[in-house]
Subunit: 376 residues, 2 copies
């Protein structure tokens, strides 16, 4: 996977880039809507393309492996054909879910043994098996299996865990070279930098992974309970150690402010459930600020949800209507809010890219942040 | 409201017609998707127009009066503007909901007093007030307030109830003449024939309502627990008594078979929650038959949901994908199934109309019914 570094901001580490996949081009910085189970909750693929204007979406190996099962997705011709999202897809390795969601997870040198959170059945993920699973899923970007420790573990544990993650990364890298996609298209494999909030461990992790020469690098284990300052500090430690001409993906992050602050620190790719999950709960992200659409102040507000966005839902539906739908638990209310928030996140990254290309990223960021983070 | 009777089938009472509203033309026979609270559950108005190809949808006076409140919808410019469904809308009077859903409903000559099922607040619906409410909602077709007795009441009760419904109909008709739409467009008012399953009471009801000269007539109080035979018998009793050049609407019906059997008996309009409700539970209506998409047989069925329909969801998504979404409780699974079923119902009525116009309705009905009602 070729990453083209198009431009770097002169006043920050913000980068504009692009990379090609077998399913289309991704322009960075980019936000990737999360489609855990093979669907971005409440958003049909047509709307993801045309309204949200997403470049790339996520799927999750742990979830898809359990349901519908890797064999079903493989038989469909891969996750793109199965879901009819025909753009690029990145799949999580499932490491995070195995440790956070599965029952009775046992970690060994070999891999992670766990029981399904759905039916209690026993399974084993190894660095090799998750590559195989992702090969079968046909994602354009695969992730290595890693251990993601909690934010409050000791430095000793962080280091021990990281060393296991690195040994797994090497095994995954080796297995990756020996395998190909059953669907005939190129698949990249990203390494994942761990190290909790210990700069020294983060550095060890980054350097070792760079030596393994992955097509791209993720920064994992953040947005798991640490402060925003710690998150930014860790990105500042790690980003400069990563190769300039490879994409950098900060996993599971975050608020609109988190995205822009991390773009300024040289991150290219993000994913987060926040826009869809918060949307379902009534929190809207708009170009004019953040709002709880269920508030009484919107009961008779017959203005569009977000005049600043071109998306169908943003222009078409009013705040009063969306408030009514959400107060009445109508499914359409979840759909509209999810699409609005995703359209906003993708718009924000496109605007950031424009600003980087025009050498005005930091000024733009300082101007837009108070506007989009204000409560309305 | 002008109803044009375009053609009557020579071998049955099936009719092809059309009528004009301020928000567009409706071609009959027609199925009207139900948008109780101002949204057809899970289906954005754009998809209703473009994919489902609905001519007209329903809203419910009881529900909208309580939430978001009539004043909010009126301030939005009516239900069309509020919901951004810009086609014709018919609103139920709320009579059925007051009796079936509200708490502690008390019936008097004046009207129906009830407590909201949401917050217990006390309200009164009268024949006049529900016309006023529907004027404010701006529906193209309004319904009179009626009492809808259970299927098993005595003939004496059915007659007594019907006489109250008729006195209410007359009051509604008088009030209708004295009022106009605050939104400046024409609104029709339909009378509702009641009488449970007593032919004599049904006849009394129909004759009295015809004397009141409504722009259209509904047959109410069916599909409430009686047998299909009783339903068809009552339609056979009532339909011939209704004016030929006015539309006939059978409320709350029904299965695809119910629709075609009642079209054959001269009904023009239908509404039912079945396509959306059953869709959410995994029952799919398709041009090839009925299926429970959650069944294991579809786990690896990578063929389109319904190759026989043009709708986006029918052509785009596979049975295996929809099964996976529904088994995993993904919102998109509800959306896809609802759109498929509504697209099917609307397609069925368009096909019926074509067959009527070509003098082959009964042959078509006999050929299509085994196909679409078979279990696959």
């Amino acid at each position: 996977m070729e990453f083209t570094l198009v431009h770097t901001d002169p006043k920050s580490d913000a980068r504009a880039g692009s990379f090609e996949t077998a399913h289309g081009t991704v322009q960075t910085p980019v936000f990737m809507p999360v489609g855990t189970l093979g669907s971005v909750k409440g958003v049909p693929p047509r709307a993801l393309h045309e309204d949200v204007k997403a470049d790339i979406i996520l799927g999750n190996t742990y979830h898809l492996y359990l349901r519908p099962g890797t064999d079903v997705v493989e038989a469909a011709g891969g996750l793109q054909r199965f879901s009819q999202w025909n753009g690029p897809i990145l799949t999580d390795s499932g490491g995070y879910q195995v440790f956070s969601l599965a029952d009775r997870c046992t970690l060994t040198e070999e891999g992670a043994e766990f029981r399904s959170h759905i039916d209690g059945s026993k399974h084993m993920f190894t660095p090799e098996s998750v590559v195989d699973t992702q090969r079968a899923l046909g994602s354009d970007i695969m992730m290595v299996l890693d251990e993601c420790p909690a934010a409050d573990v000791s430095k000793a544990y962080a280091r021990e865990s990281n060393e296991l993650t690195l040994r797994w990364a090497e095994r995954a890298r080796t297995h990756y070279e020996k395998t190909t996609s059953p669907h005939g298209h190129e698949q990249a494999l990203f390494g994942i930098v761990q190290g909790v909030t210990y700069p020294e461990v983060r550095r060890e992790s980054a350097r070792a992974l760079v030596d393994l020469d992955f097509p791209g690098y993720a920064i994992g284990g953040l947005s798991v309970g640490e402060s925003h300052k710690d998150m930014y500090d860790m990105v500042e430690v790690v980003a400069p150690l990563l190769p300039e001409h490879k994409p950098r993906y900060l996993m599971g992050v975050g608020t609109p402010e988190n995205l822009l602050e991390n773009v300024a620190r040289g991150v290219d790719m993000f994913d987060c459930v926040m826009p869809t999950r918060n949307g379902r709960n009534g929190t809207l992200f708009t170009t004019q600020g953040r709002m709880n659409i269920k508030n009484a102040q919107f009961a008779n507000d017959h203005t569009p949800i977000d005049p600043g966005l071109e998306a169908y839902v943003s222009q078409t539906f009013t705040k009063a209507y969306l408030r009514h739908l959400q107060k009445s638990n109508e499914i359409l209310g979840l759909q509209i809010a999810s699409q609005q928030n995703l359209a906003f996140y993708c718009w924000l990254m496109r605007e950031a890219r424009k600003a980087i290309l025009e050498n005005r990223f930091m000024a733009w960021k300082d101007a837009i942040l108070p506007q989009i983070t204000q409560r309305i």
